[in-house]
């Protein structure tokens, strides 16, 4: 059975290179490689691949624009990168060989397989890192767009009732990070466990529907993480008076 923590494959000085770190590097490589390929082959009259990437980026941009009108240019890169990175990370765990090729550790009953590669979103380090970065980026964006005064006004007030709301806001900011990270981690990790279990029960044909399910779950979870980040950014970057107008409308 796969452990919660990612297994270190080797150490680079003080840095433990785990199987999820290796997967992260693979996902990075694919993303950067694809981006480089697209940029290099960018033409005014697009080919199939360029059409596809343009469609994807345009769709994501329009989605951002519809959620946060006027601020899409700032929010869009975060949304798109979260979506692409998490999507590839989630799906990377479904590639044959991931989680199955590795080496054995331990003796007798403790003998377990340590996979060389493991989807990076099954590591809480990754999902927590993403969630923390999402929160920090959201707050920085908020300060840059609506200004420090309005930003602080959300959490601190001389009015006791508003101060209480501000206190709740502060807690919600912390829970956002926890919910984002554990939702992603839990879903993908559980998916891997299910796949592993089903595969040990019956290796042929039976895992196929689950693979398809995990394929969809991987997409949905990436979308959920990215959309939530986008929504948080849109909410926190909306000036106070504008938010009221919106609620009245």
């Amino acid at each position: 059975m796969v452990s919660f923590a990612a297994e270190p494959i080797f150490r680079l000085g003080f840095f433990p290179v785990t199987n999820t770190v290796l997967d992260t590097l693979i996902v990075d490589g694919v993303l950067v490689g694809a981006a480089y390929y697209i940029k290099k082959n960018l033409k005014l009259i697009p080919g199939f691949f360029q059409n596809l990437s343009e469609f994807a980026i345009d769709t994501m941009y329009n989605l951002t624009e519809s959620v946060a009108p006027g601020r899409a240019a700032k929010i869009f890169p975060y949304f798109a990168t979260f979506l692409l990175f998490i999507l590839l990370a989630n799906w990377s765990g479904l590639v044959p060989g991931f989680g199955t090729i590795g080496f054995f550790e331990g003796e007798g009953a403790n003998r377990t397989l340590v996979p060389l590669l493991r989807s990076t979103t099954t590591d809480l380090n990754t999902t927590l890192g993403l969630a923390i970065f999402s929160a920090v980026a959201t707050h920085i964006l908020s300060i840059r767009i609506i200004g420090i005064k309005q930003y602080l006004g959300r959490y601190f007030s001389l009015n006791p009732i508003n101060q209480f709301i501000g206190f709740l806001e502060m807690i919600s900011e912390i829970t956002k990070v926890i919910s984002l990270s554990f939702r992603l981690f839990g879903n993908i990790y559980a998916g891997e466990i299910v796949l592993g279990t089903i595969s040990t029960l019956f290796a042929i044909a039976l895992p196929l529907p689950f693979l398809l399910l995990e394929f969809i779950v991987g997409f949905v979870q990436a979308l959920v993480f990215a959309m939530l980040t986008m929504a948080f950014m849109a909410i926190l970057s909306t000036p106070h008076h504008e938010a009221k107008e919106v609620s009245h409308a």
Partner: protein, 167 residues
């Protein structure tokens, strides 16, 4: 914090993942989003420009067609005017010629009439003279035997007077 250890959270890995994501975000922004968005914008501009040019071309064509129609109409009008003018002129000229001819003919006719009249008069005069002379001769011959020279003379003179008086 115990739970974090259970889940294998390692500050080093956590920071590494955050840095990794920031780097990826930066690279994708530079390498993917910006060029693709720029390209989309550029294409939009090109298409807009093309459509605008097509519209302009259409307008120009329409204008040219209108101009062509105008010019054709003008030319037609002008040619009609020229033909009309020519017709008018020709009819005027022909009328004039006709008039001249008629006048000349009239003149000639009159001249001829006058000449004929003159001739007739002359002829008449000559005839009367001849008749007079003849009658005098006849008279002279006929009376030469009847009357003497004196009487003859007086008679002839009287006859001549009578004849000339008659005349």
């Amino acid at each position: 914090m115990e739970i974090l250890k259970t889940f294998g959270v390692d500050p080093i890995l956590l920071v590494a993942q955050i840095i990794n994501f920031i780097v990826i975000l930066y690279i994708l922004k530079k390498l993917l989003y910006k060029p693709v968005m720029d390209m989309l914008k550029k294409r939009e501009d090109v298409i807009k420009e093309g459509l605008k040019q097509a519209e302009e071309g259409k307008l120009t064509l329409e204008k040219a067609l209108e101009e062509e129609k105008k010019i054709l109409k003008k030319a037609q009008d002008q040619s009609k005017k020229i033909v009309d003018n020519a017709n008018e002129q020709a009819s005027a000229v022909s009328k004039e010629i006709e008039e001249n001819a008629r006048k000349q003919a009239d003149k000639i006719l009159e001249e001829a009439k006058r000449q004929i009249e003159q001739e007739a008069k002359d002829t008449e005069k000559r005839l009367s003279e001849n008749v007079t002379n003849l009658s005098i001769d006849i008279l002279r011959k006929s009376i030469s035997e009847l009357f003497g020279e004196k009487e003859q003379k007086a008679l002839v003179e009287k006859a001549i007077r009578n004849i000339t008086k008659k005349k």
